[in-house]
Amino acid sequence: MDRKQPHATDNAIVVKNLQKSYKDLKVLHGIDFNVRRGSILALLGPNGAGKTTTIRILSTLLSPDSGEAYVNGFDVVKQACEVRGSIGLTGQFAAVDGYLTSEENLLMLGRLYRLSQSDTKQRTRELLEQFDLVDAAQRPVKTYSGGMKRRLDLAMSLIASPPVIFLDEPTTGLDPRSRLSMWALIKNLANSGTTILLTTQYMDEADYLADWIVVIDEGRVIAEGDANALKARVGADHVDLTISRNSSFSIAQQAVDGAKIQANPEQRVLTIAASHGVTTVKQVLQRLEDAQIEVESLSMRRPTLDDVFLFLTGNGAPKTEEMEK
């Protein structure tokens, strides 16, 4: 690293070769990504991929073993206090005080963020209104629904108008309606110029919200790109072909080799990505016919996140690759 200023000004978050282990378990194997100022980046990955660990390091709750990370231009290790003044954190579990009312929660947070009394009061009024909590403002938060708690949680992160917001699985456990209203709030927030780093295990959430998606698995970045680029790669419809017992499964496998993404010999099912829709299906069926393979049944389905990870991690896909826009 010969650059004096590793944090370019157009990136609100810079992550370089971040590594972290808990005792003997290595959870981050050196991850890198940048978040452009004012954009939404989604860290997409299954449970245990290292998403929460990454967020905890960036919000100064954990220290990394090695690597560098800058938030709003500040080093998360050496300038932790400045970082804390620049961020809002909404964790996986609503970090609200159940015995206090939402108004008391917000007033307390404002002062803890070092806002003046009058600024704190004004921001509290504004946020209660914007987050649709005015009617419930005087009730203890433990009486709130899950969706209301999450809304308050997000409002609390915003009280000091921080330039960077971390959202750790912001909609996990929410009902569909609360989920949509949370999505609207997050979009809204990004439109106002806030940089947002969110984690999710849902492809559709990343798709709807994010300008840039970083897929991580087992502590490594396995792909990144915008939603279209990732979908073009892994998001085509999947076709499950059941091969008849009269034909050889291994010959069938060879016949569709280029298009195959999964093979399950016990069930005699071959899964292929229909990247060009019906054309791909036609080609594959033609190849199987040429190889004199009998196909018992065929079904098409939307890919699940499982398919995405199987595609990205297994079956000969390259370990790490960057997808261009």
Partner: protein, 272 residues
């Protein structure tokens, strides 16, 4: 839902030195929060009122007739013991409330703020002081009802209150250590009792120590709870003071001096 407004981000850039003003401001906010928890949680309010009255009545009327306390009436003898026992049990709430906080997301939120992180512990301990002042007042009232008749001067009452507060502070800091060490809420609930019950029973709280077997007596006569009880009893009802006043002050200060850095270290260790 309306448009979310954000001001220019620069205006919220906080002071990053954890100077005294912010430490006190943060601790005040945390104390207010902890006191709200007491007021709004029915079981804490009930235990605050019922425990001291229950202990006072049970000891005074069930055990009191069978215990020989010499030329001091049992109600007069008992008062200091019940007072210190109640303060010690009250501090168990620091363990429980801190353990609850550490389990929930709110501590991560606090730690991601530019606040002084130790303010959370200080807030719980301050709330403990408030709780124990209320308990103390209830104990005094209950004592008068069951026949406690102190002959202390104003200056002796001043000593009693001062020592009681210092003792509360010491035991709260110890309880804070437990709150940060325990792995579960259940553990937080029993660990304090397991420590405090034997300590208050093997002391001069309810019976004179001279009838205990040698080993117990030696322990009872030299442990901090006995010193605190003996000093308070001496000031209130005129039993011999001996060395207990300065010994109990020394014990309390010693516990605080040792506990504060341990607590700070344990709190930071959660960051690893």
């Amino acid at each position: 839902m309306s448009e979310i407004t954000l001001r220019a981000p620069a205006q919220a850039q906080p002071e990053c030195r954890s100077d005294w003003y912010w430490l006190i401001s943060d601790s005040w906010l945390m104390a207010k929060r902890s006191v709200m928890h007491i007021i709004r949680s029915m079981d804490q309010v009930l235990s605050l009122i019922l425990f001291p009255i229950m202990f006072m009545l049970l000891n005074r009327y069930v055990l009191g007739g069978a215990i020989d306390t010499g030329n001091v009436s049992y109600a007069n003898y008992l008062f200091a013991g019940i007072l210190i026992q109640t303060l010690a049990f009250g501090a168990n709430y620091t363990t429980i409330n801190l353990a609850v906080d550490m389990k929930e997301g709110i501590v991560d939120r606090f730690r991601s703020l530019p606040m002084a992180s130790t303010a959370l512990v200080i807030g719980h301990i301050a709330a403990d002081l408030v709780r124990n002042i209320i308990s103390g007042i209830i104990i005094i009232l209950a004592g008068f009802v069951v026949g406690f008749r102190p002959n202390a001067s104003a200056i002796e009452w001043f000593y009693v209150i001062g020592l009681a507060l210092l003792f509360t502070l010491a035991i709260s800091w110890l309880s804070a250590i437990l709150g940060l060490v325990v792995k579960s809420l259940e553990a937080a609930q029993w660990v304090g009792f397991v420590l405090i019950f034997p300590l208050t029973f093997v002391s001069s709280a309810f019976v004179p120590t001279d009838t205990m077997p040698d080993i117990l007596r030696t322990f009872a006569e030299n442990q901090p709870i006995t010193h605190a009880i003996n000093a308070i009893r001496a000031w209130l009802v005129g039993t011999p003071l001996g060395d207990s006043a300065w010994l109990s002050v020394l014990w309390s200060l010693g516990i605080i001096v040792v506990s504060v850095p341990i607590t700070a270290w344990l709190f930071r260790r959660h960051a690893q």
